[in-house]
């Protein structure tokens, strides 16, 4: 999260806090958007700062006493564009 601009980070945090008072970010990754040939050219020149990016977060959330895992997609201004629930394979064979 430290790699995200401060203003964007505050927007993302505000959305997550609205979802639940208890959450844990498991993973965050950049999602670069644009035409493939343009993206490749910029990556080859190492000009990442010129790339527009979305932010994809995988977050554990406690809602109504139940625990869920969601994948959030935020645009480069920190606005939420998509939320999908992640259905993880169960672990009963190593828990019981």
């Amino acid at each position: 999260m430290r790699g995200i601009p401060q203003a964007v980070r505050e927007c993302i945090t505000a959305v997550l806090r609205e979802e639940s008072s208890r959450y844990r970010i498991k993973k965050m990754q950049y999602q670069f958007v644009g035409k493939p040939e343009v993206l490749l050219a910029l990556l080859m020149r190492d000009s990442l700062e010129q790339l527009a990016s979305n932010y994809e977060l995988v977050v554990q959330v406690k809602v109504d006493n139940a625990y869920h895992i969601y994948e959030y997609l935020f645009d480069n201004s920190g606005k939420l564009t998509q939320r999908l629930e992640v259905m993880e394979r169960n672990s009963f064979n190593i828990q019981f």
Binding site: Q60, E88, R89, N90, S91, F92, N93, I94, Q95, F96
Partner: protein, 226 residues
């Protein structure tokens, strides 16, 4: 070390330890596990049976004869209390051919999912009562790991490797014993929520006393999420 070499090393070590010691017996240990999730709780219903097929006492010849061991029927209810932690309470009914035993179980489980494997720590206390023996009180710690044998995740129609390692401290009256278990298993995901596993359930106990006892079971586990 590659995953395949790790599996082979563990099988060899577990076998070598057993062959170098005295008394041993073993057989089959099949189990059926039915799991149901509802409103934040998970319910596990389990039937397990222990069948002996060989007995190797130190002063006699080895014998290969079938001998019924016991049957366990148990139920466990677990609830998540944090993102990666759960508590569980359960009851086990055991028939060992001579008497009925009742066991009450309490568990605390921590499960972590890493990039390409899972790890679960389980602390258990249980109390076993029967009419013919003094109560047995146990404190157990088990670490279990599972990782796929192909790719980064276990998908349907794929194999995985599971390894359990457990320490069981038992007190009965004034007697104390420590049992150690190592269980390497190969599992296969038949369909979403249906797994079958086969492997070796190796147990060593009484090794603080004069005659160490080793047990080898061929374990066959079937899991189905309802």
């Amino acid at each position: 070390m590659t995953k395949e070499r790790l599996c082979l090393t563990l099988f060899i070590v577990s076998t070598a330890v057993g062959l170098s010691q005295s008394r041993s017996d073993g057989g089959l240990l099949p189990s059926v596990n039915l799991i149901h999730k509802s409103k934040g709780y998970a319910y596990n219903f389990r039937i397990e049976s222990r069948q002996f097929v060989f007995n190797d006492p130190p002063s006699e010849r080895s014998t290969f004869t079938y001998d019924y061991g016991l049957t366990d029927i148990s139920g466990l209810v677990s609830k998540k209390v944090d993102f990666d932690k759960a508590v569980a309470l359960g009851y086990l009914f055991r028939w060992n051919g001579n008497a009925i035993e009742h066991r009450f179980i309490q568990q605390f489980i921590v499960t972590r999912k890493y990039t390409d494997f899972k790890l679960a720590h389980r602390i258990t206390t249980d109390q076993t009562f029967s009419q013919i023996e003094a109560p047995i009180y146990r404190l157990r710690y088990r670490v279990a790991t599972e990782f796929p044998l192909s790719g980064d995740n276990v998908d349907v129609n794929e194999f995985y490797f599971k390894l359990n390692h457990e320490y069981l401290n038992a007190v009965q009256g004034s007697q104390y014993d420590l049992e150690i278990r190592i269980l390497p298993f190969i599992g296969y995901e038949i369909a979403a929520g249906i797994n079958i596993e086969i492997g070796i359930d190796y147990r060593v106990n009484s090794f603080l006393a004069k005659e160490t006892e080793h047990r080898f079971f061929l374990g066959i586990n079937w899991f189905k999420v309802l």
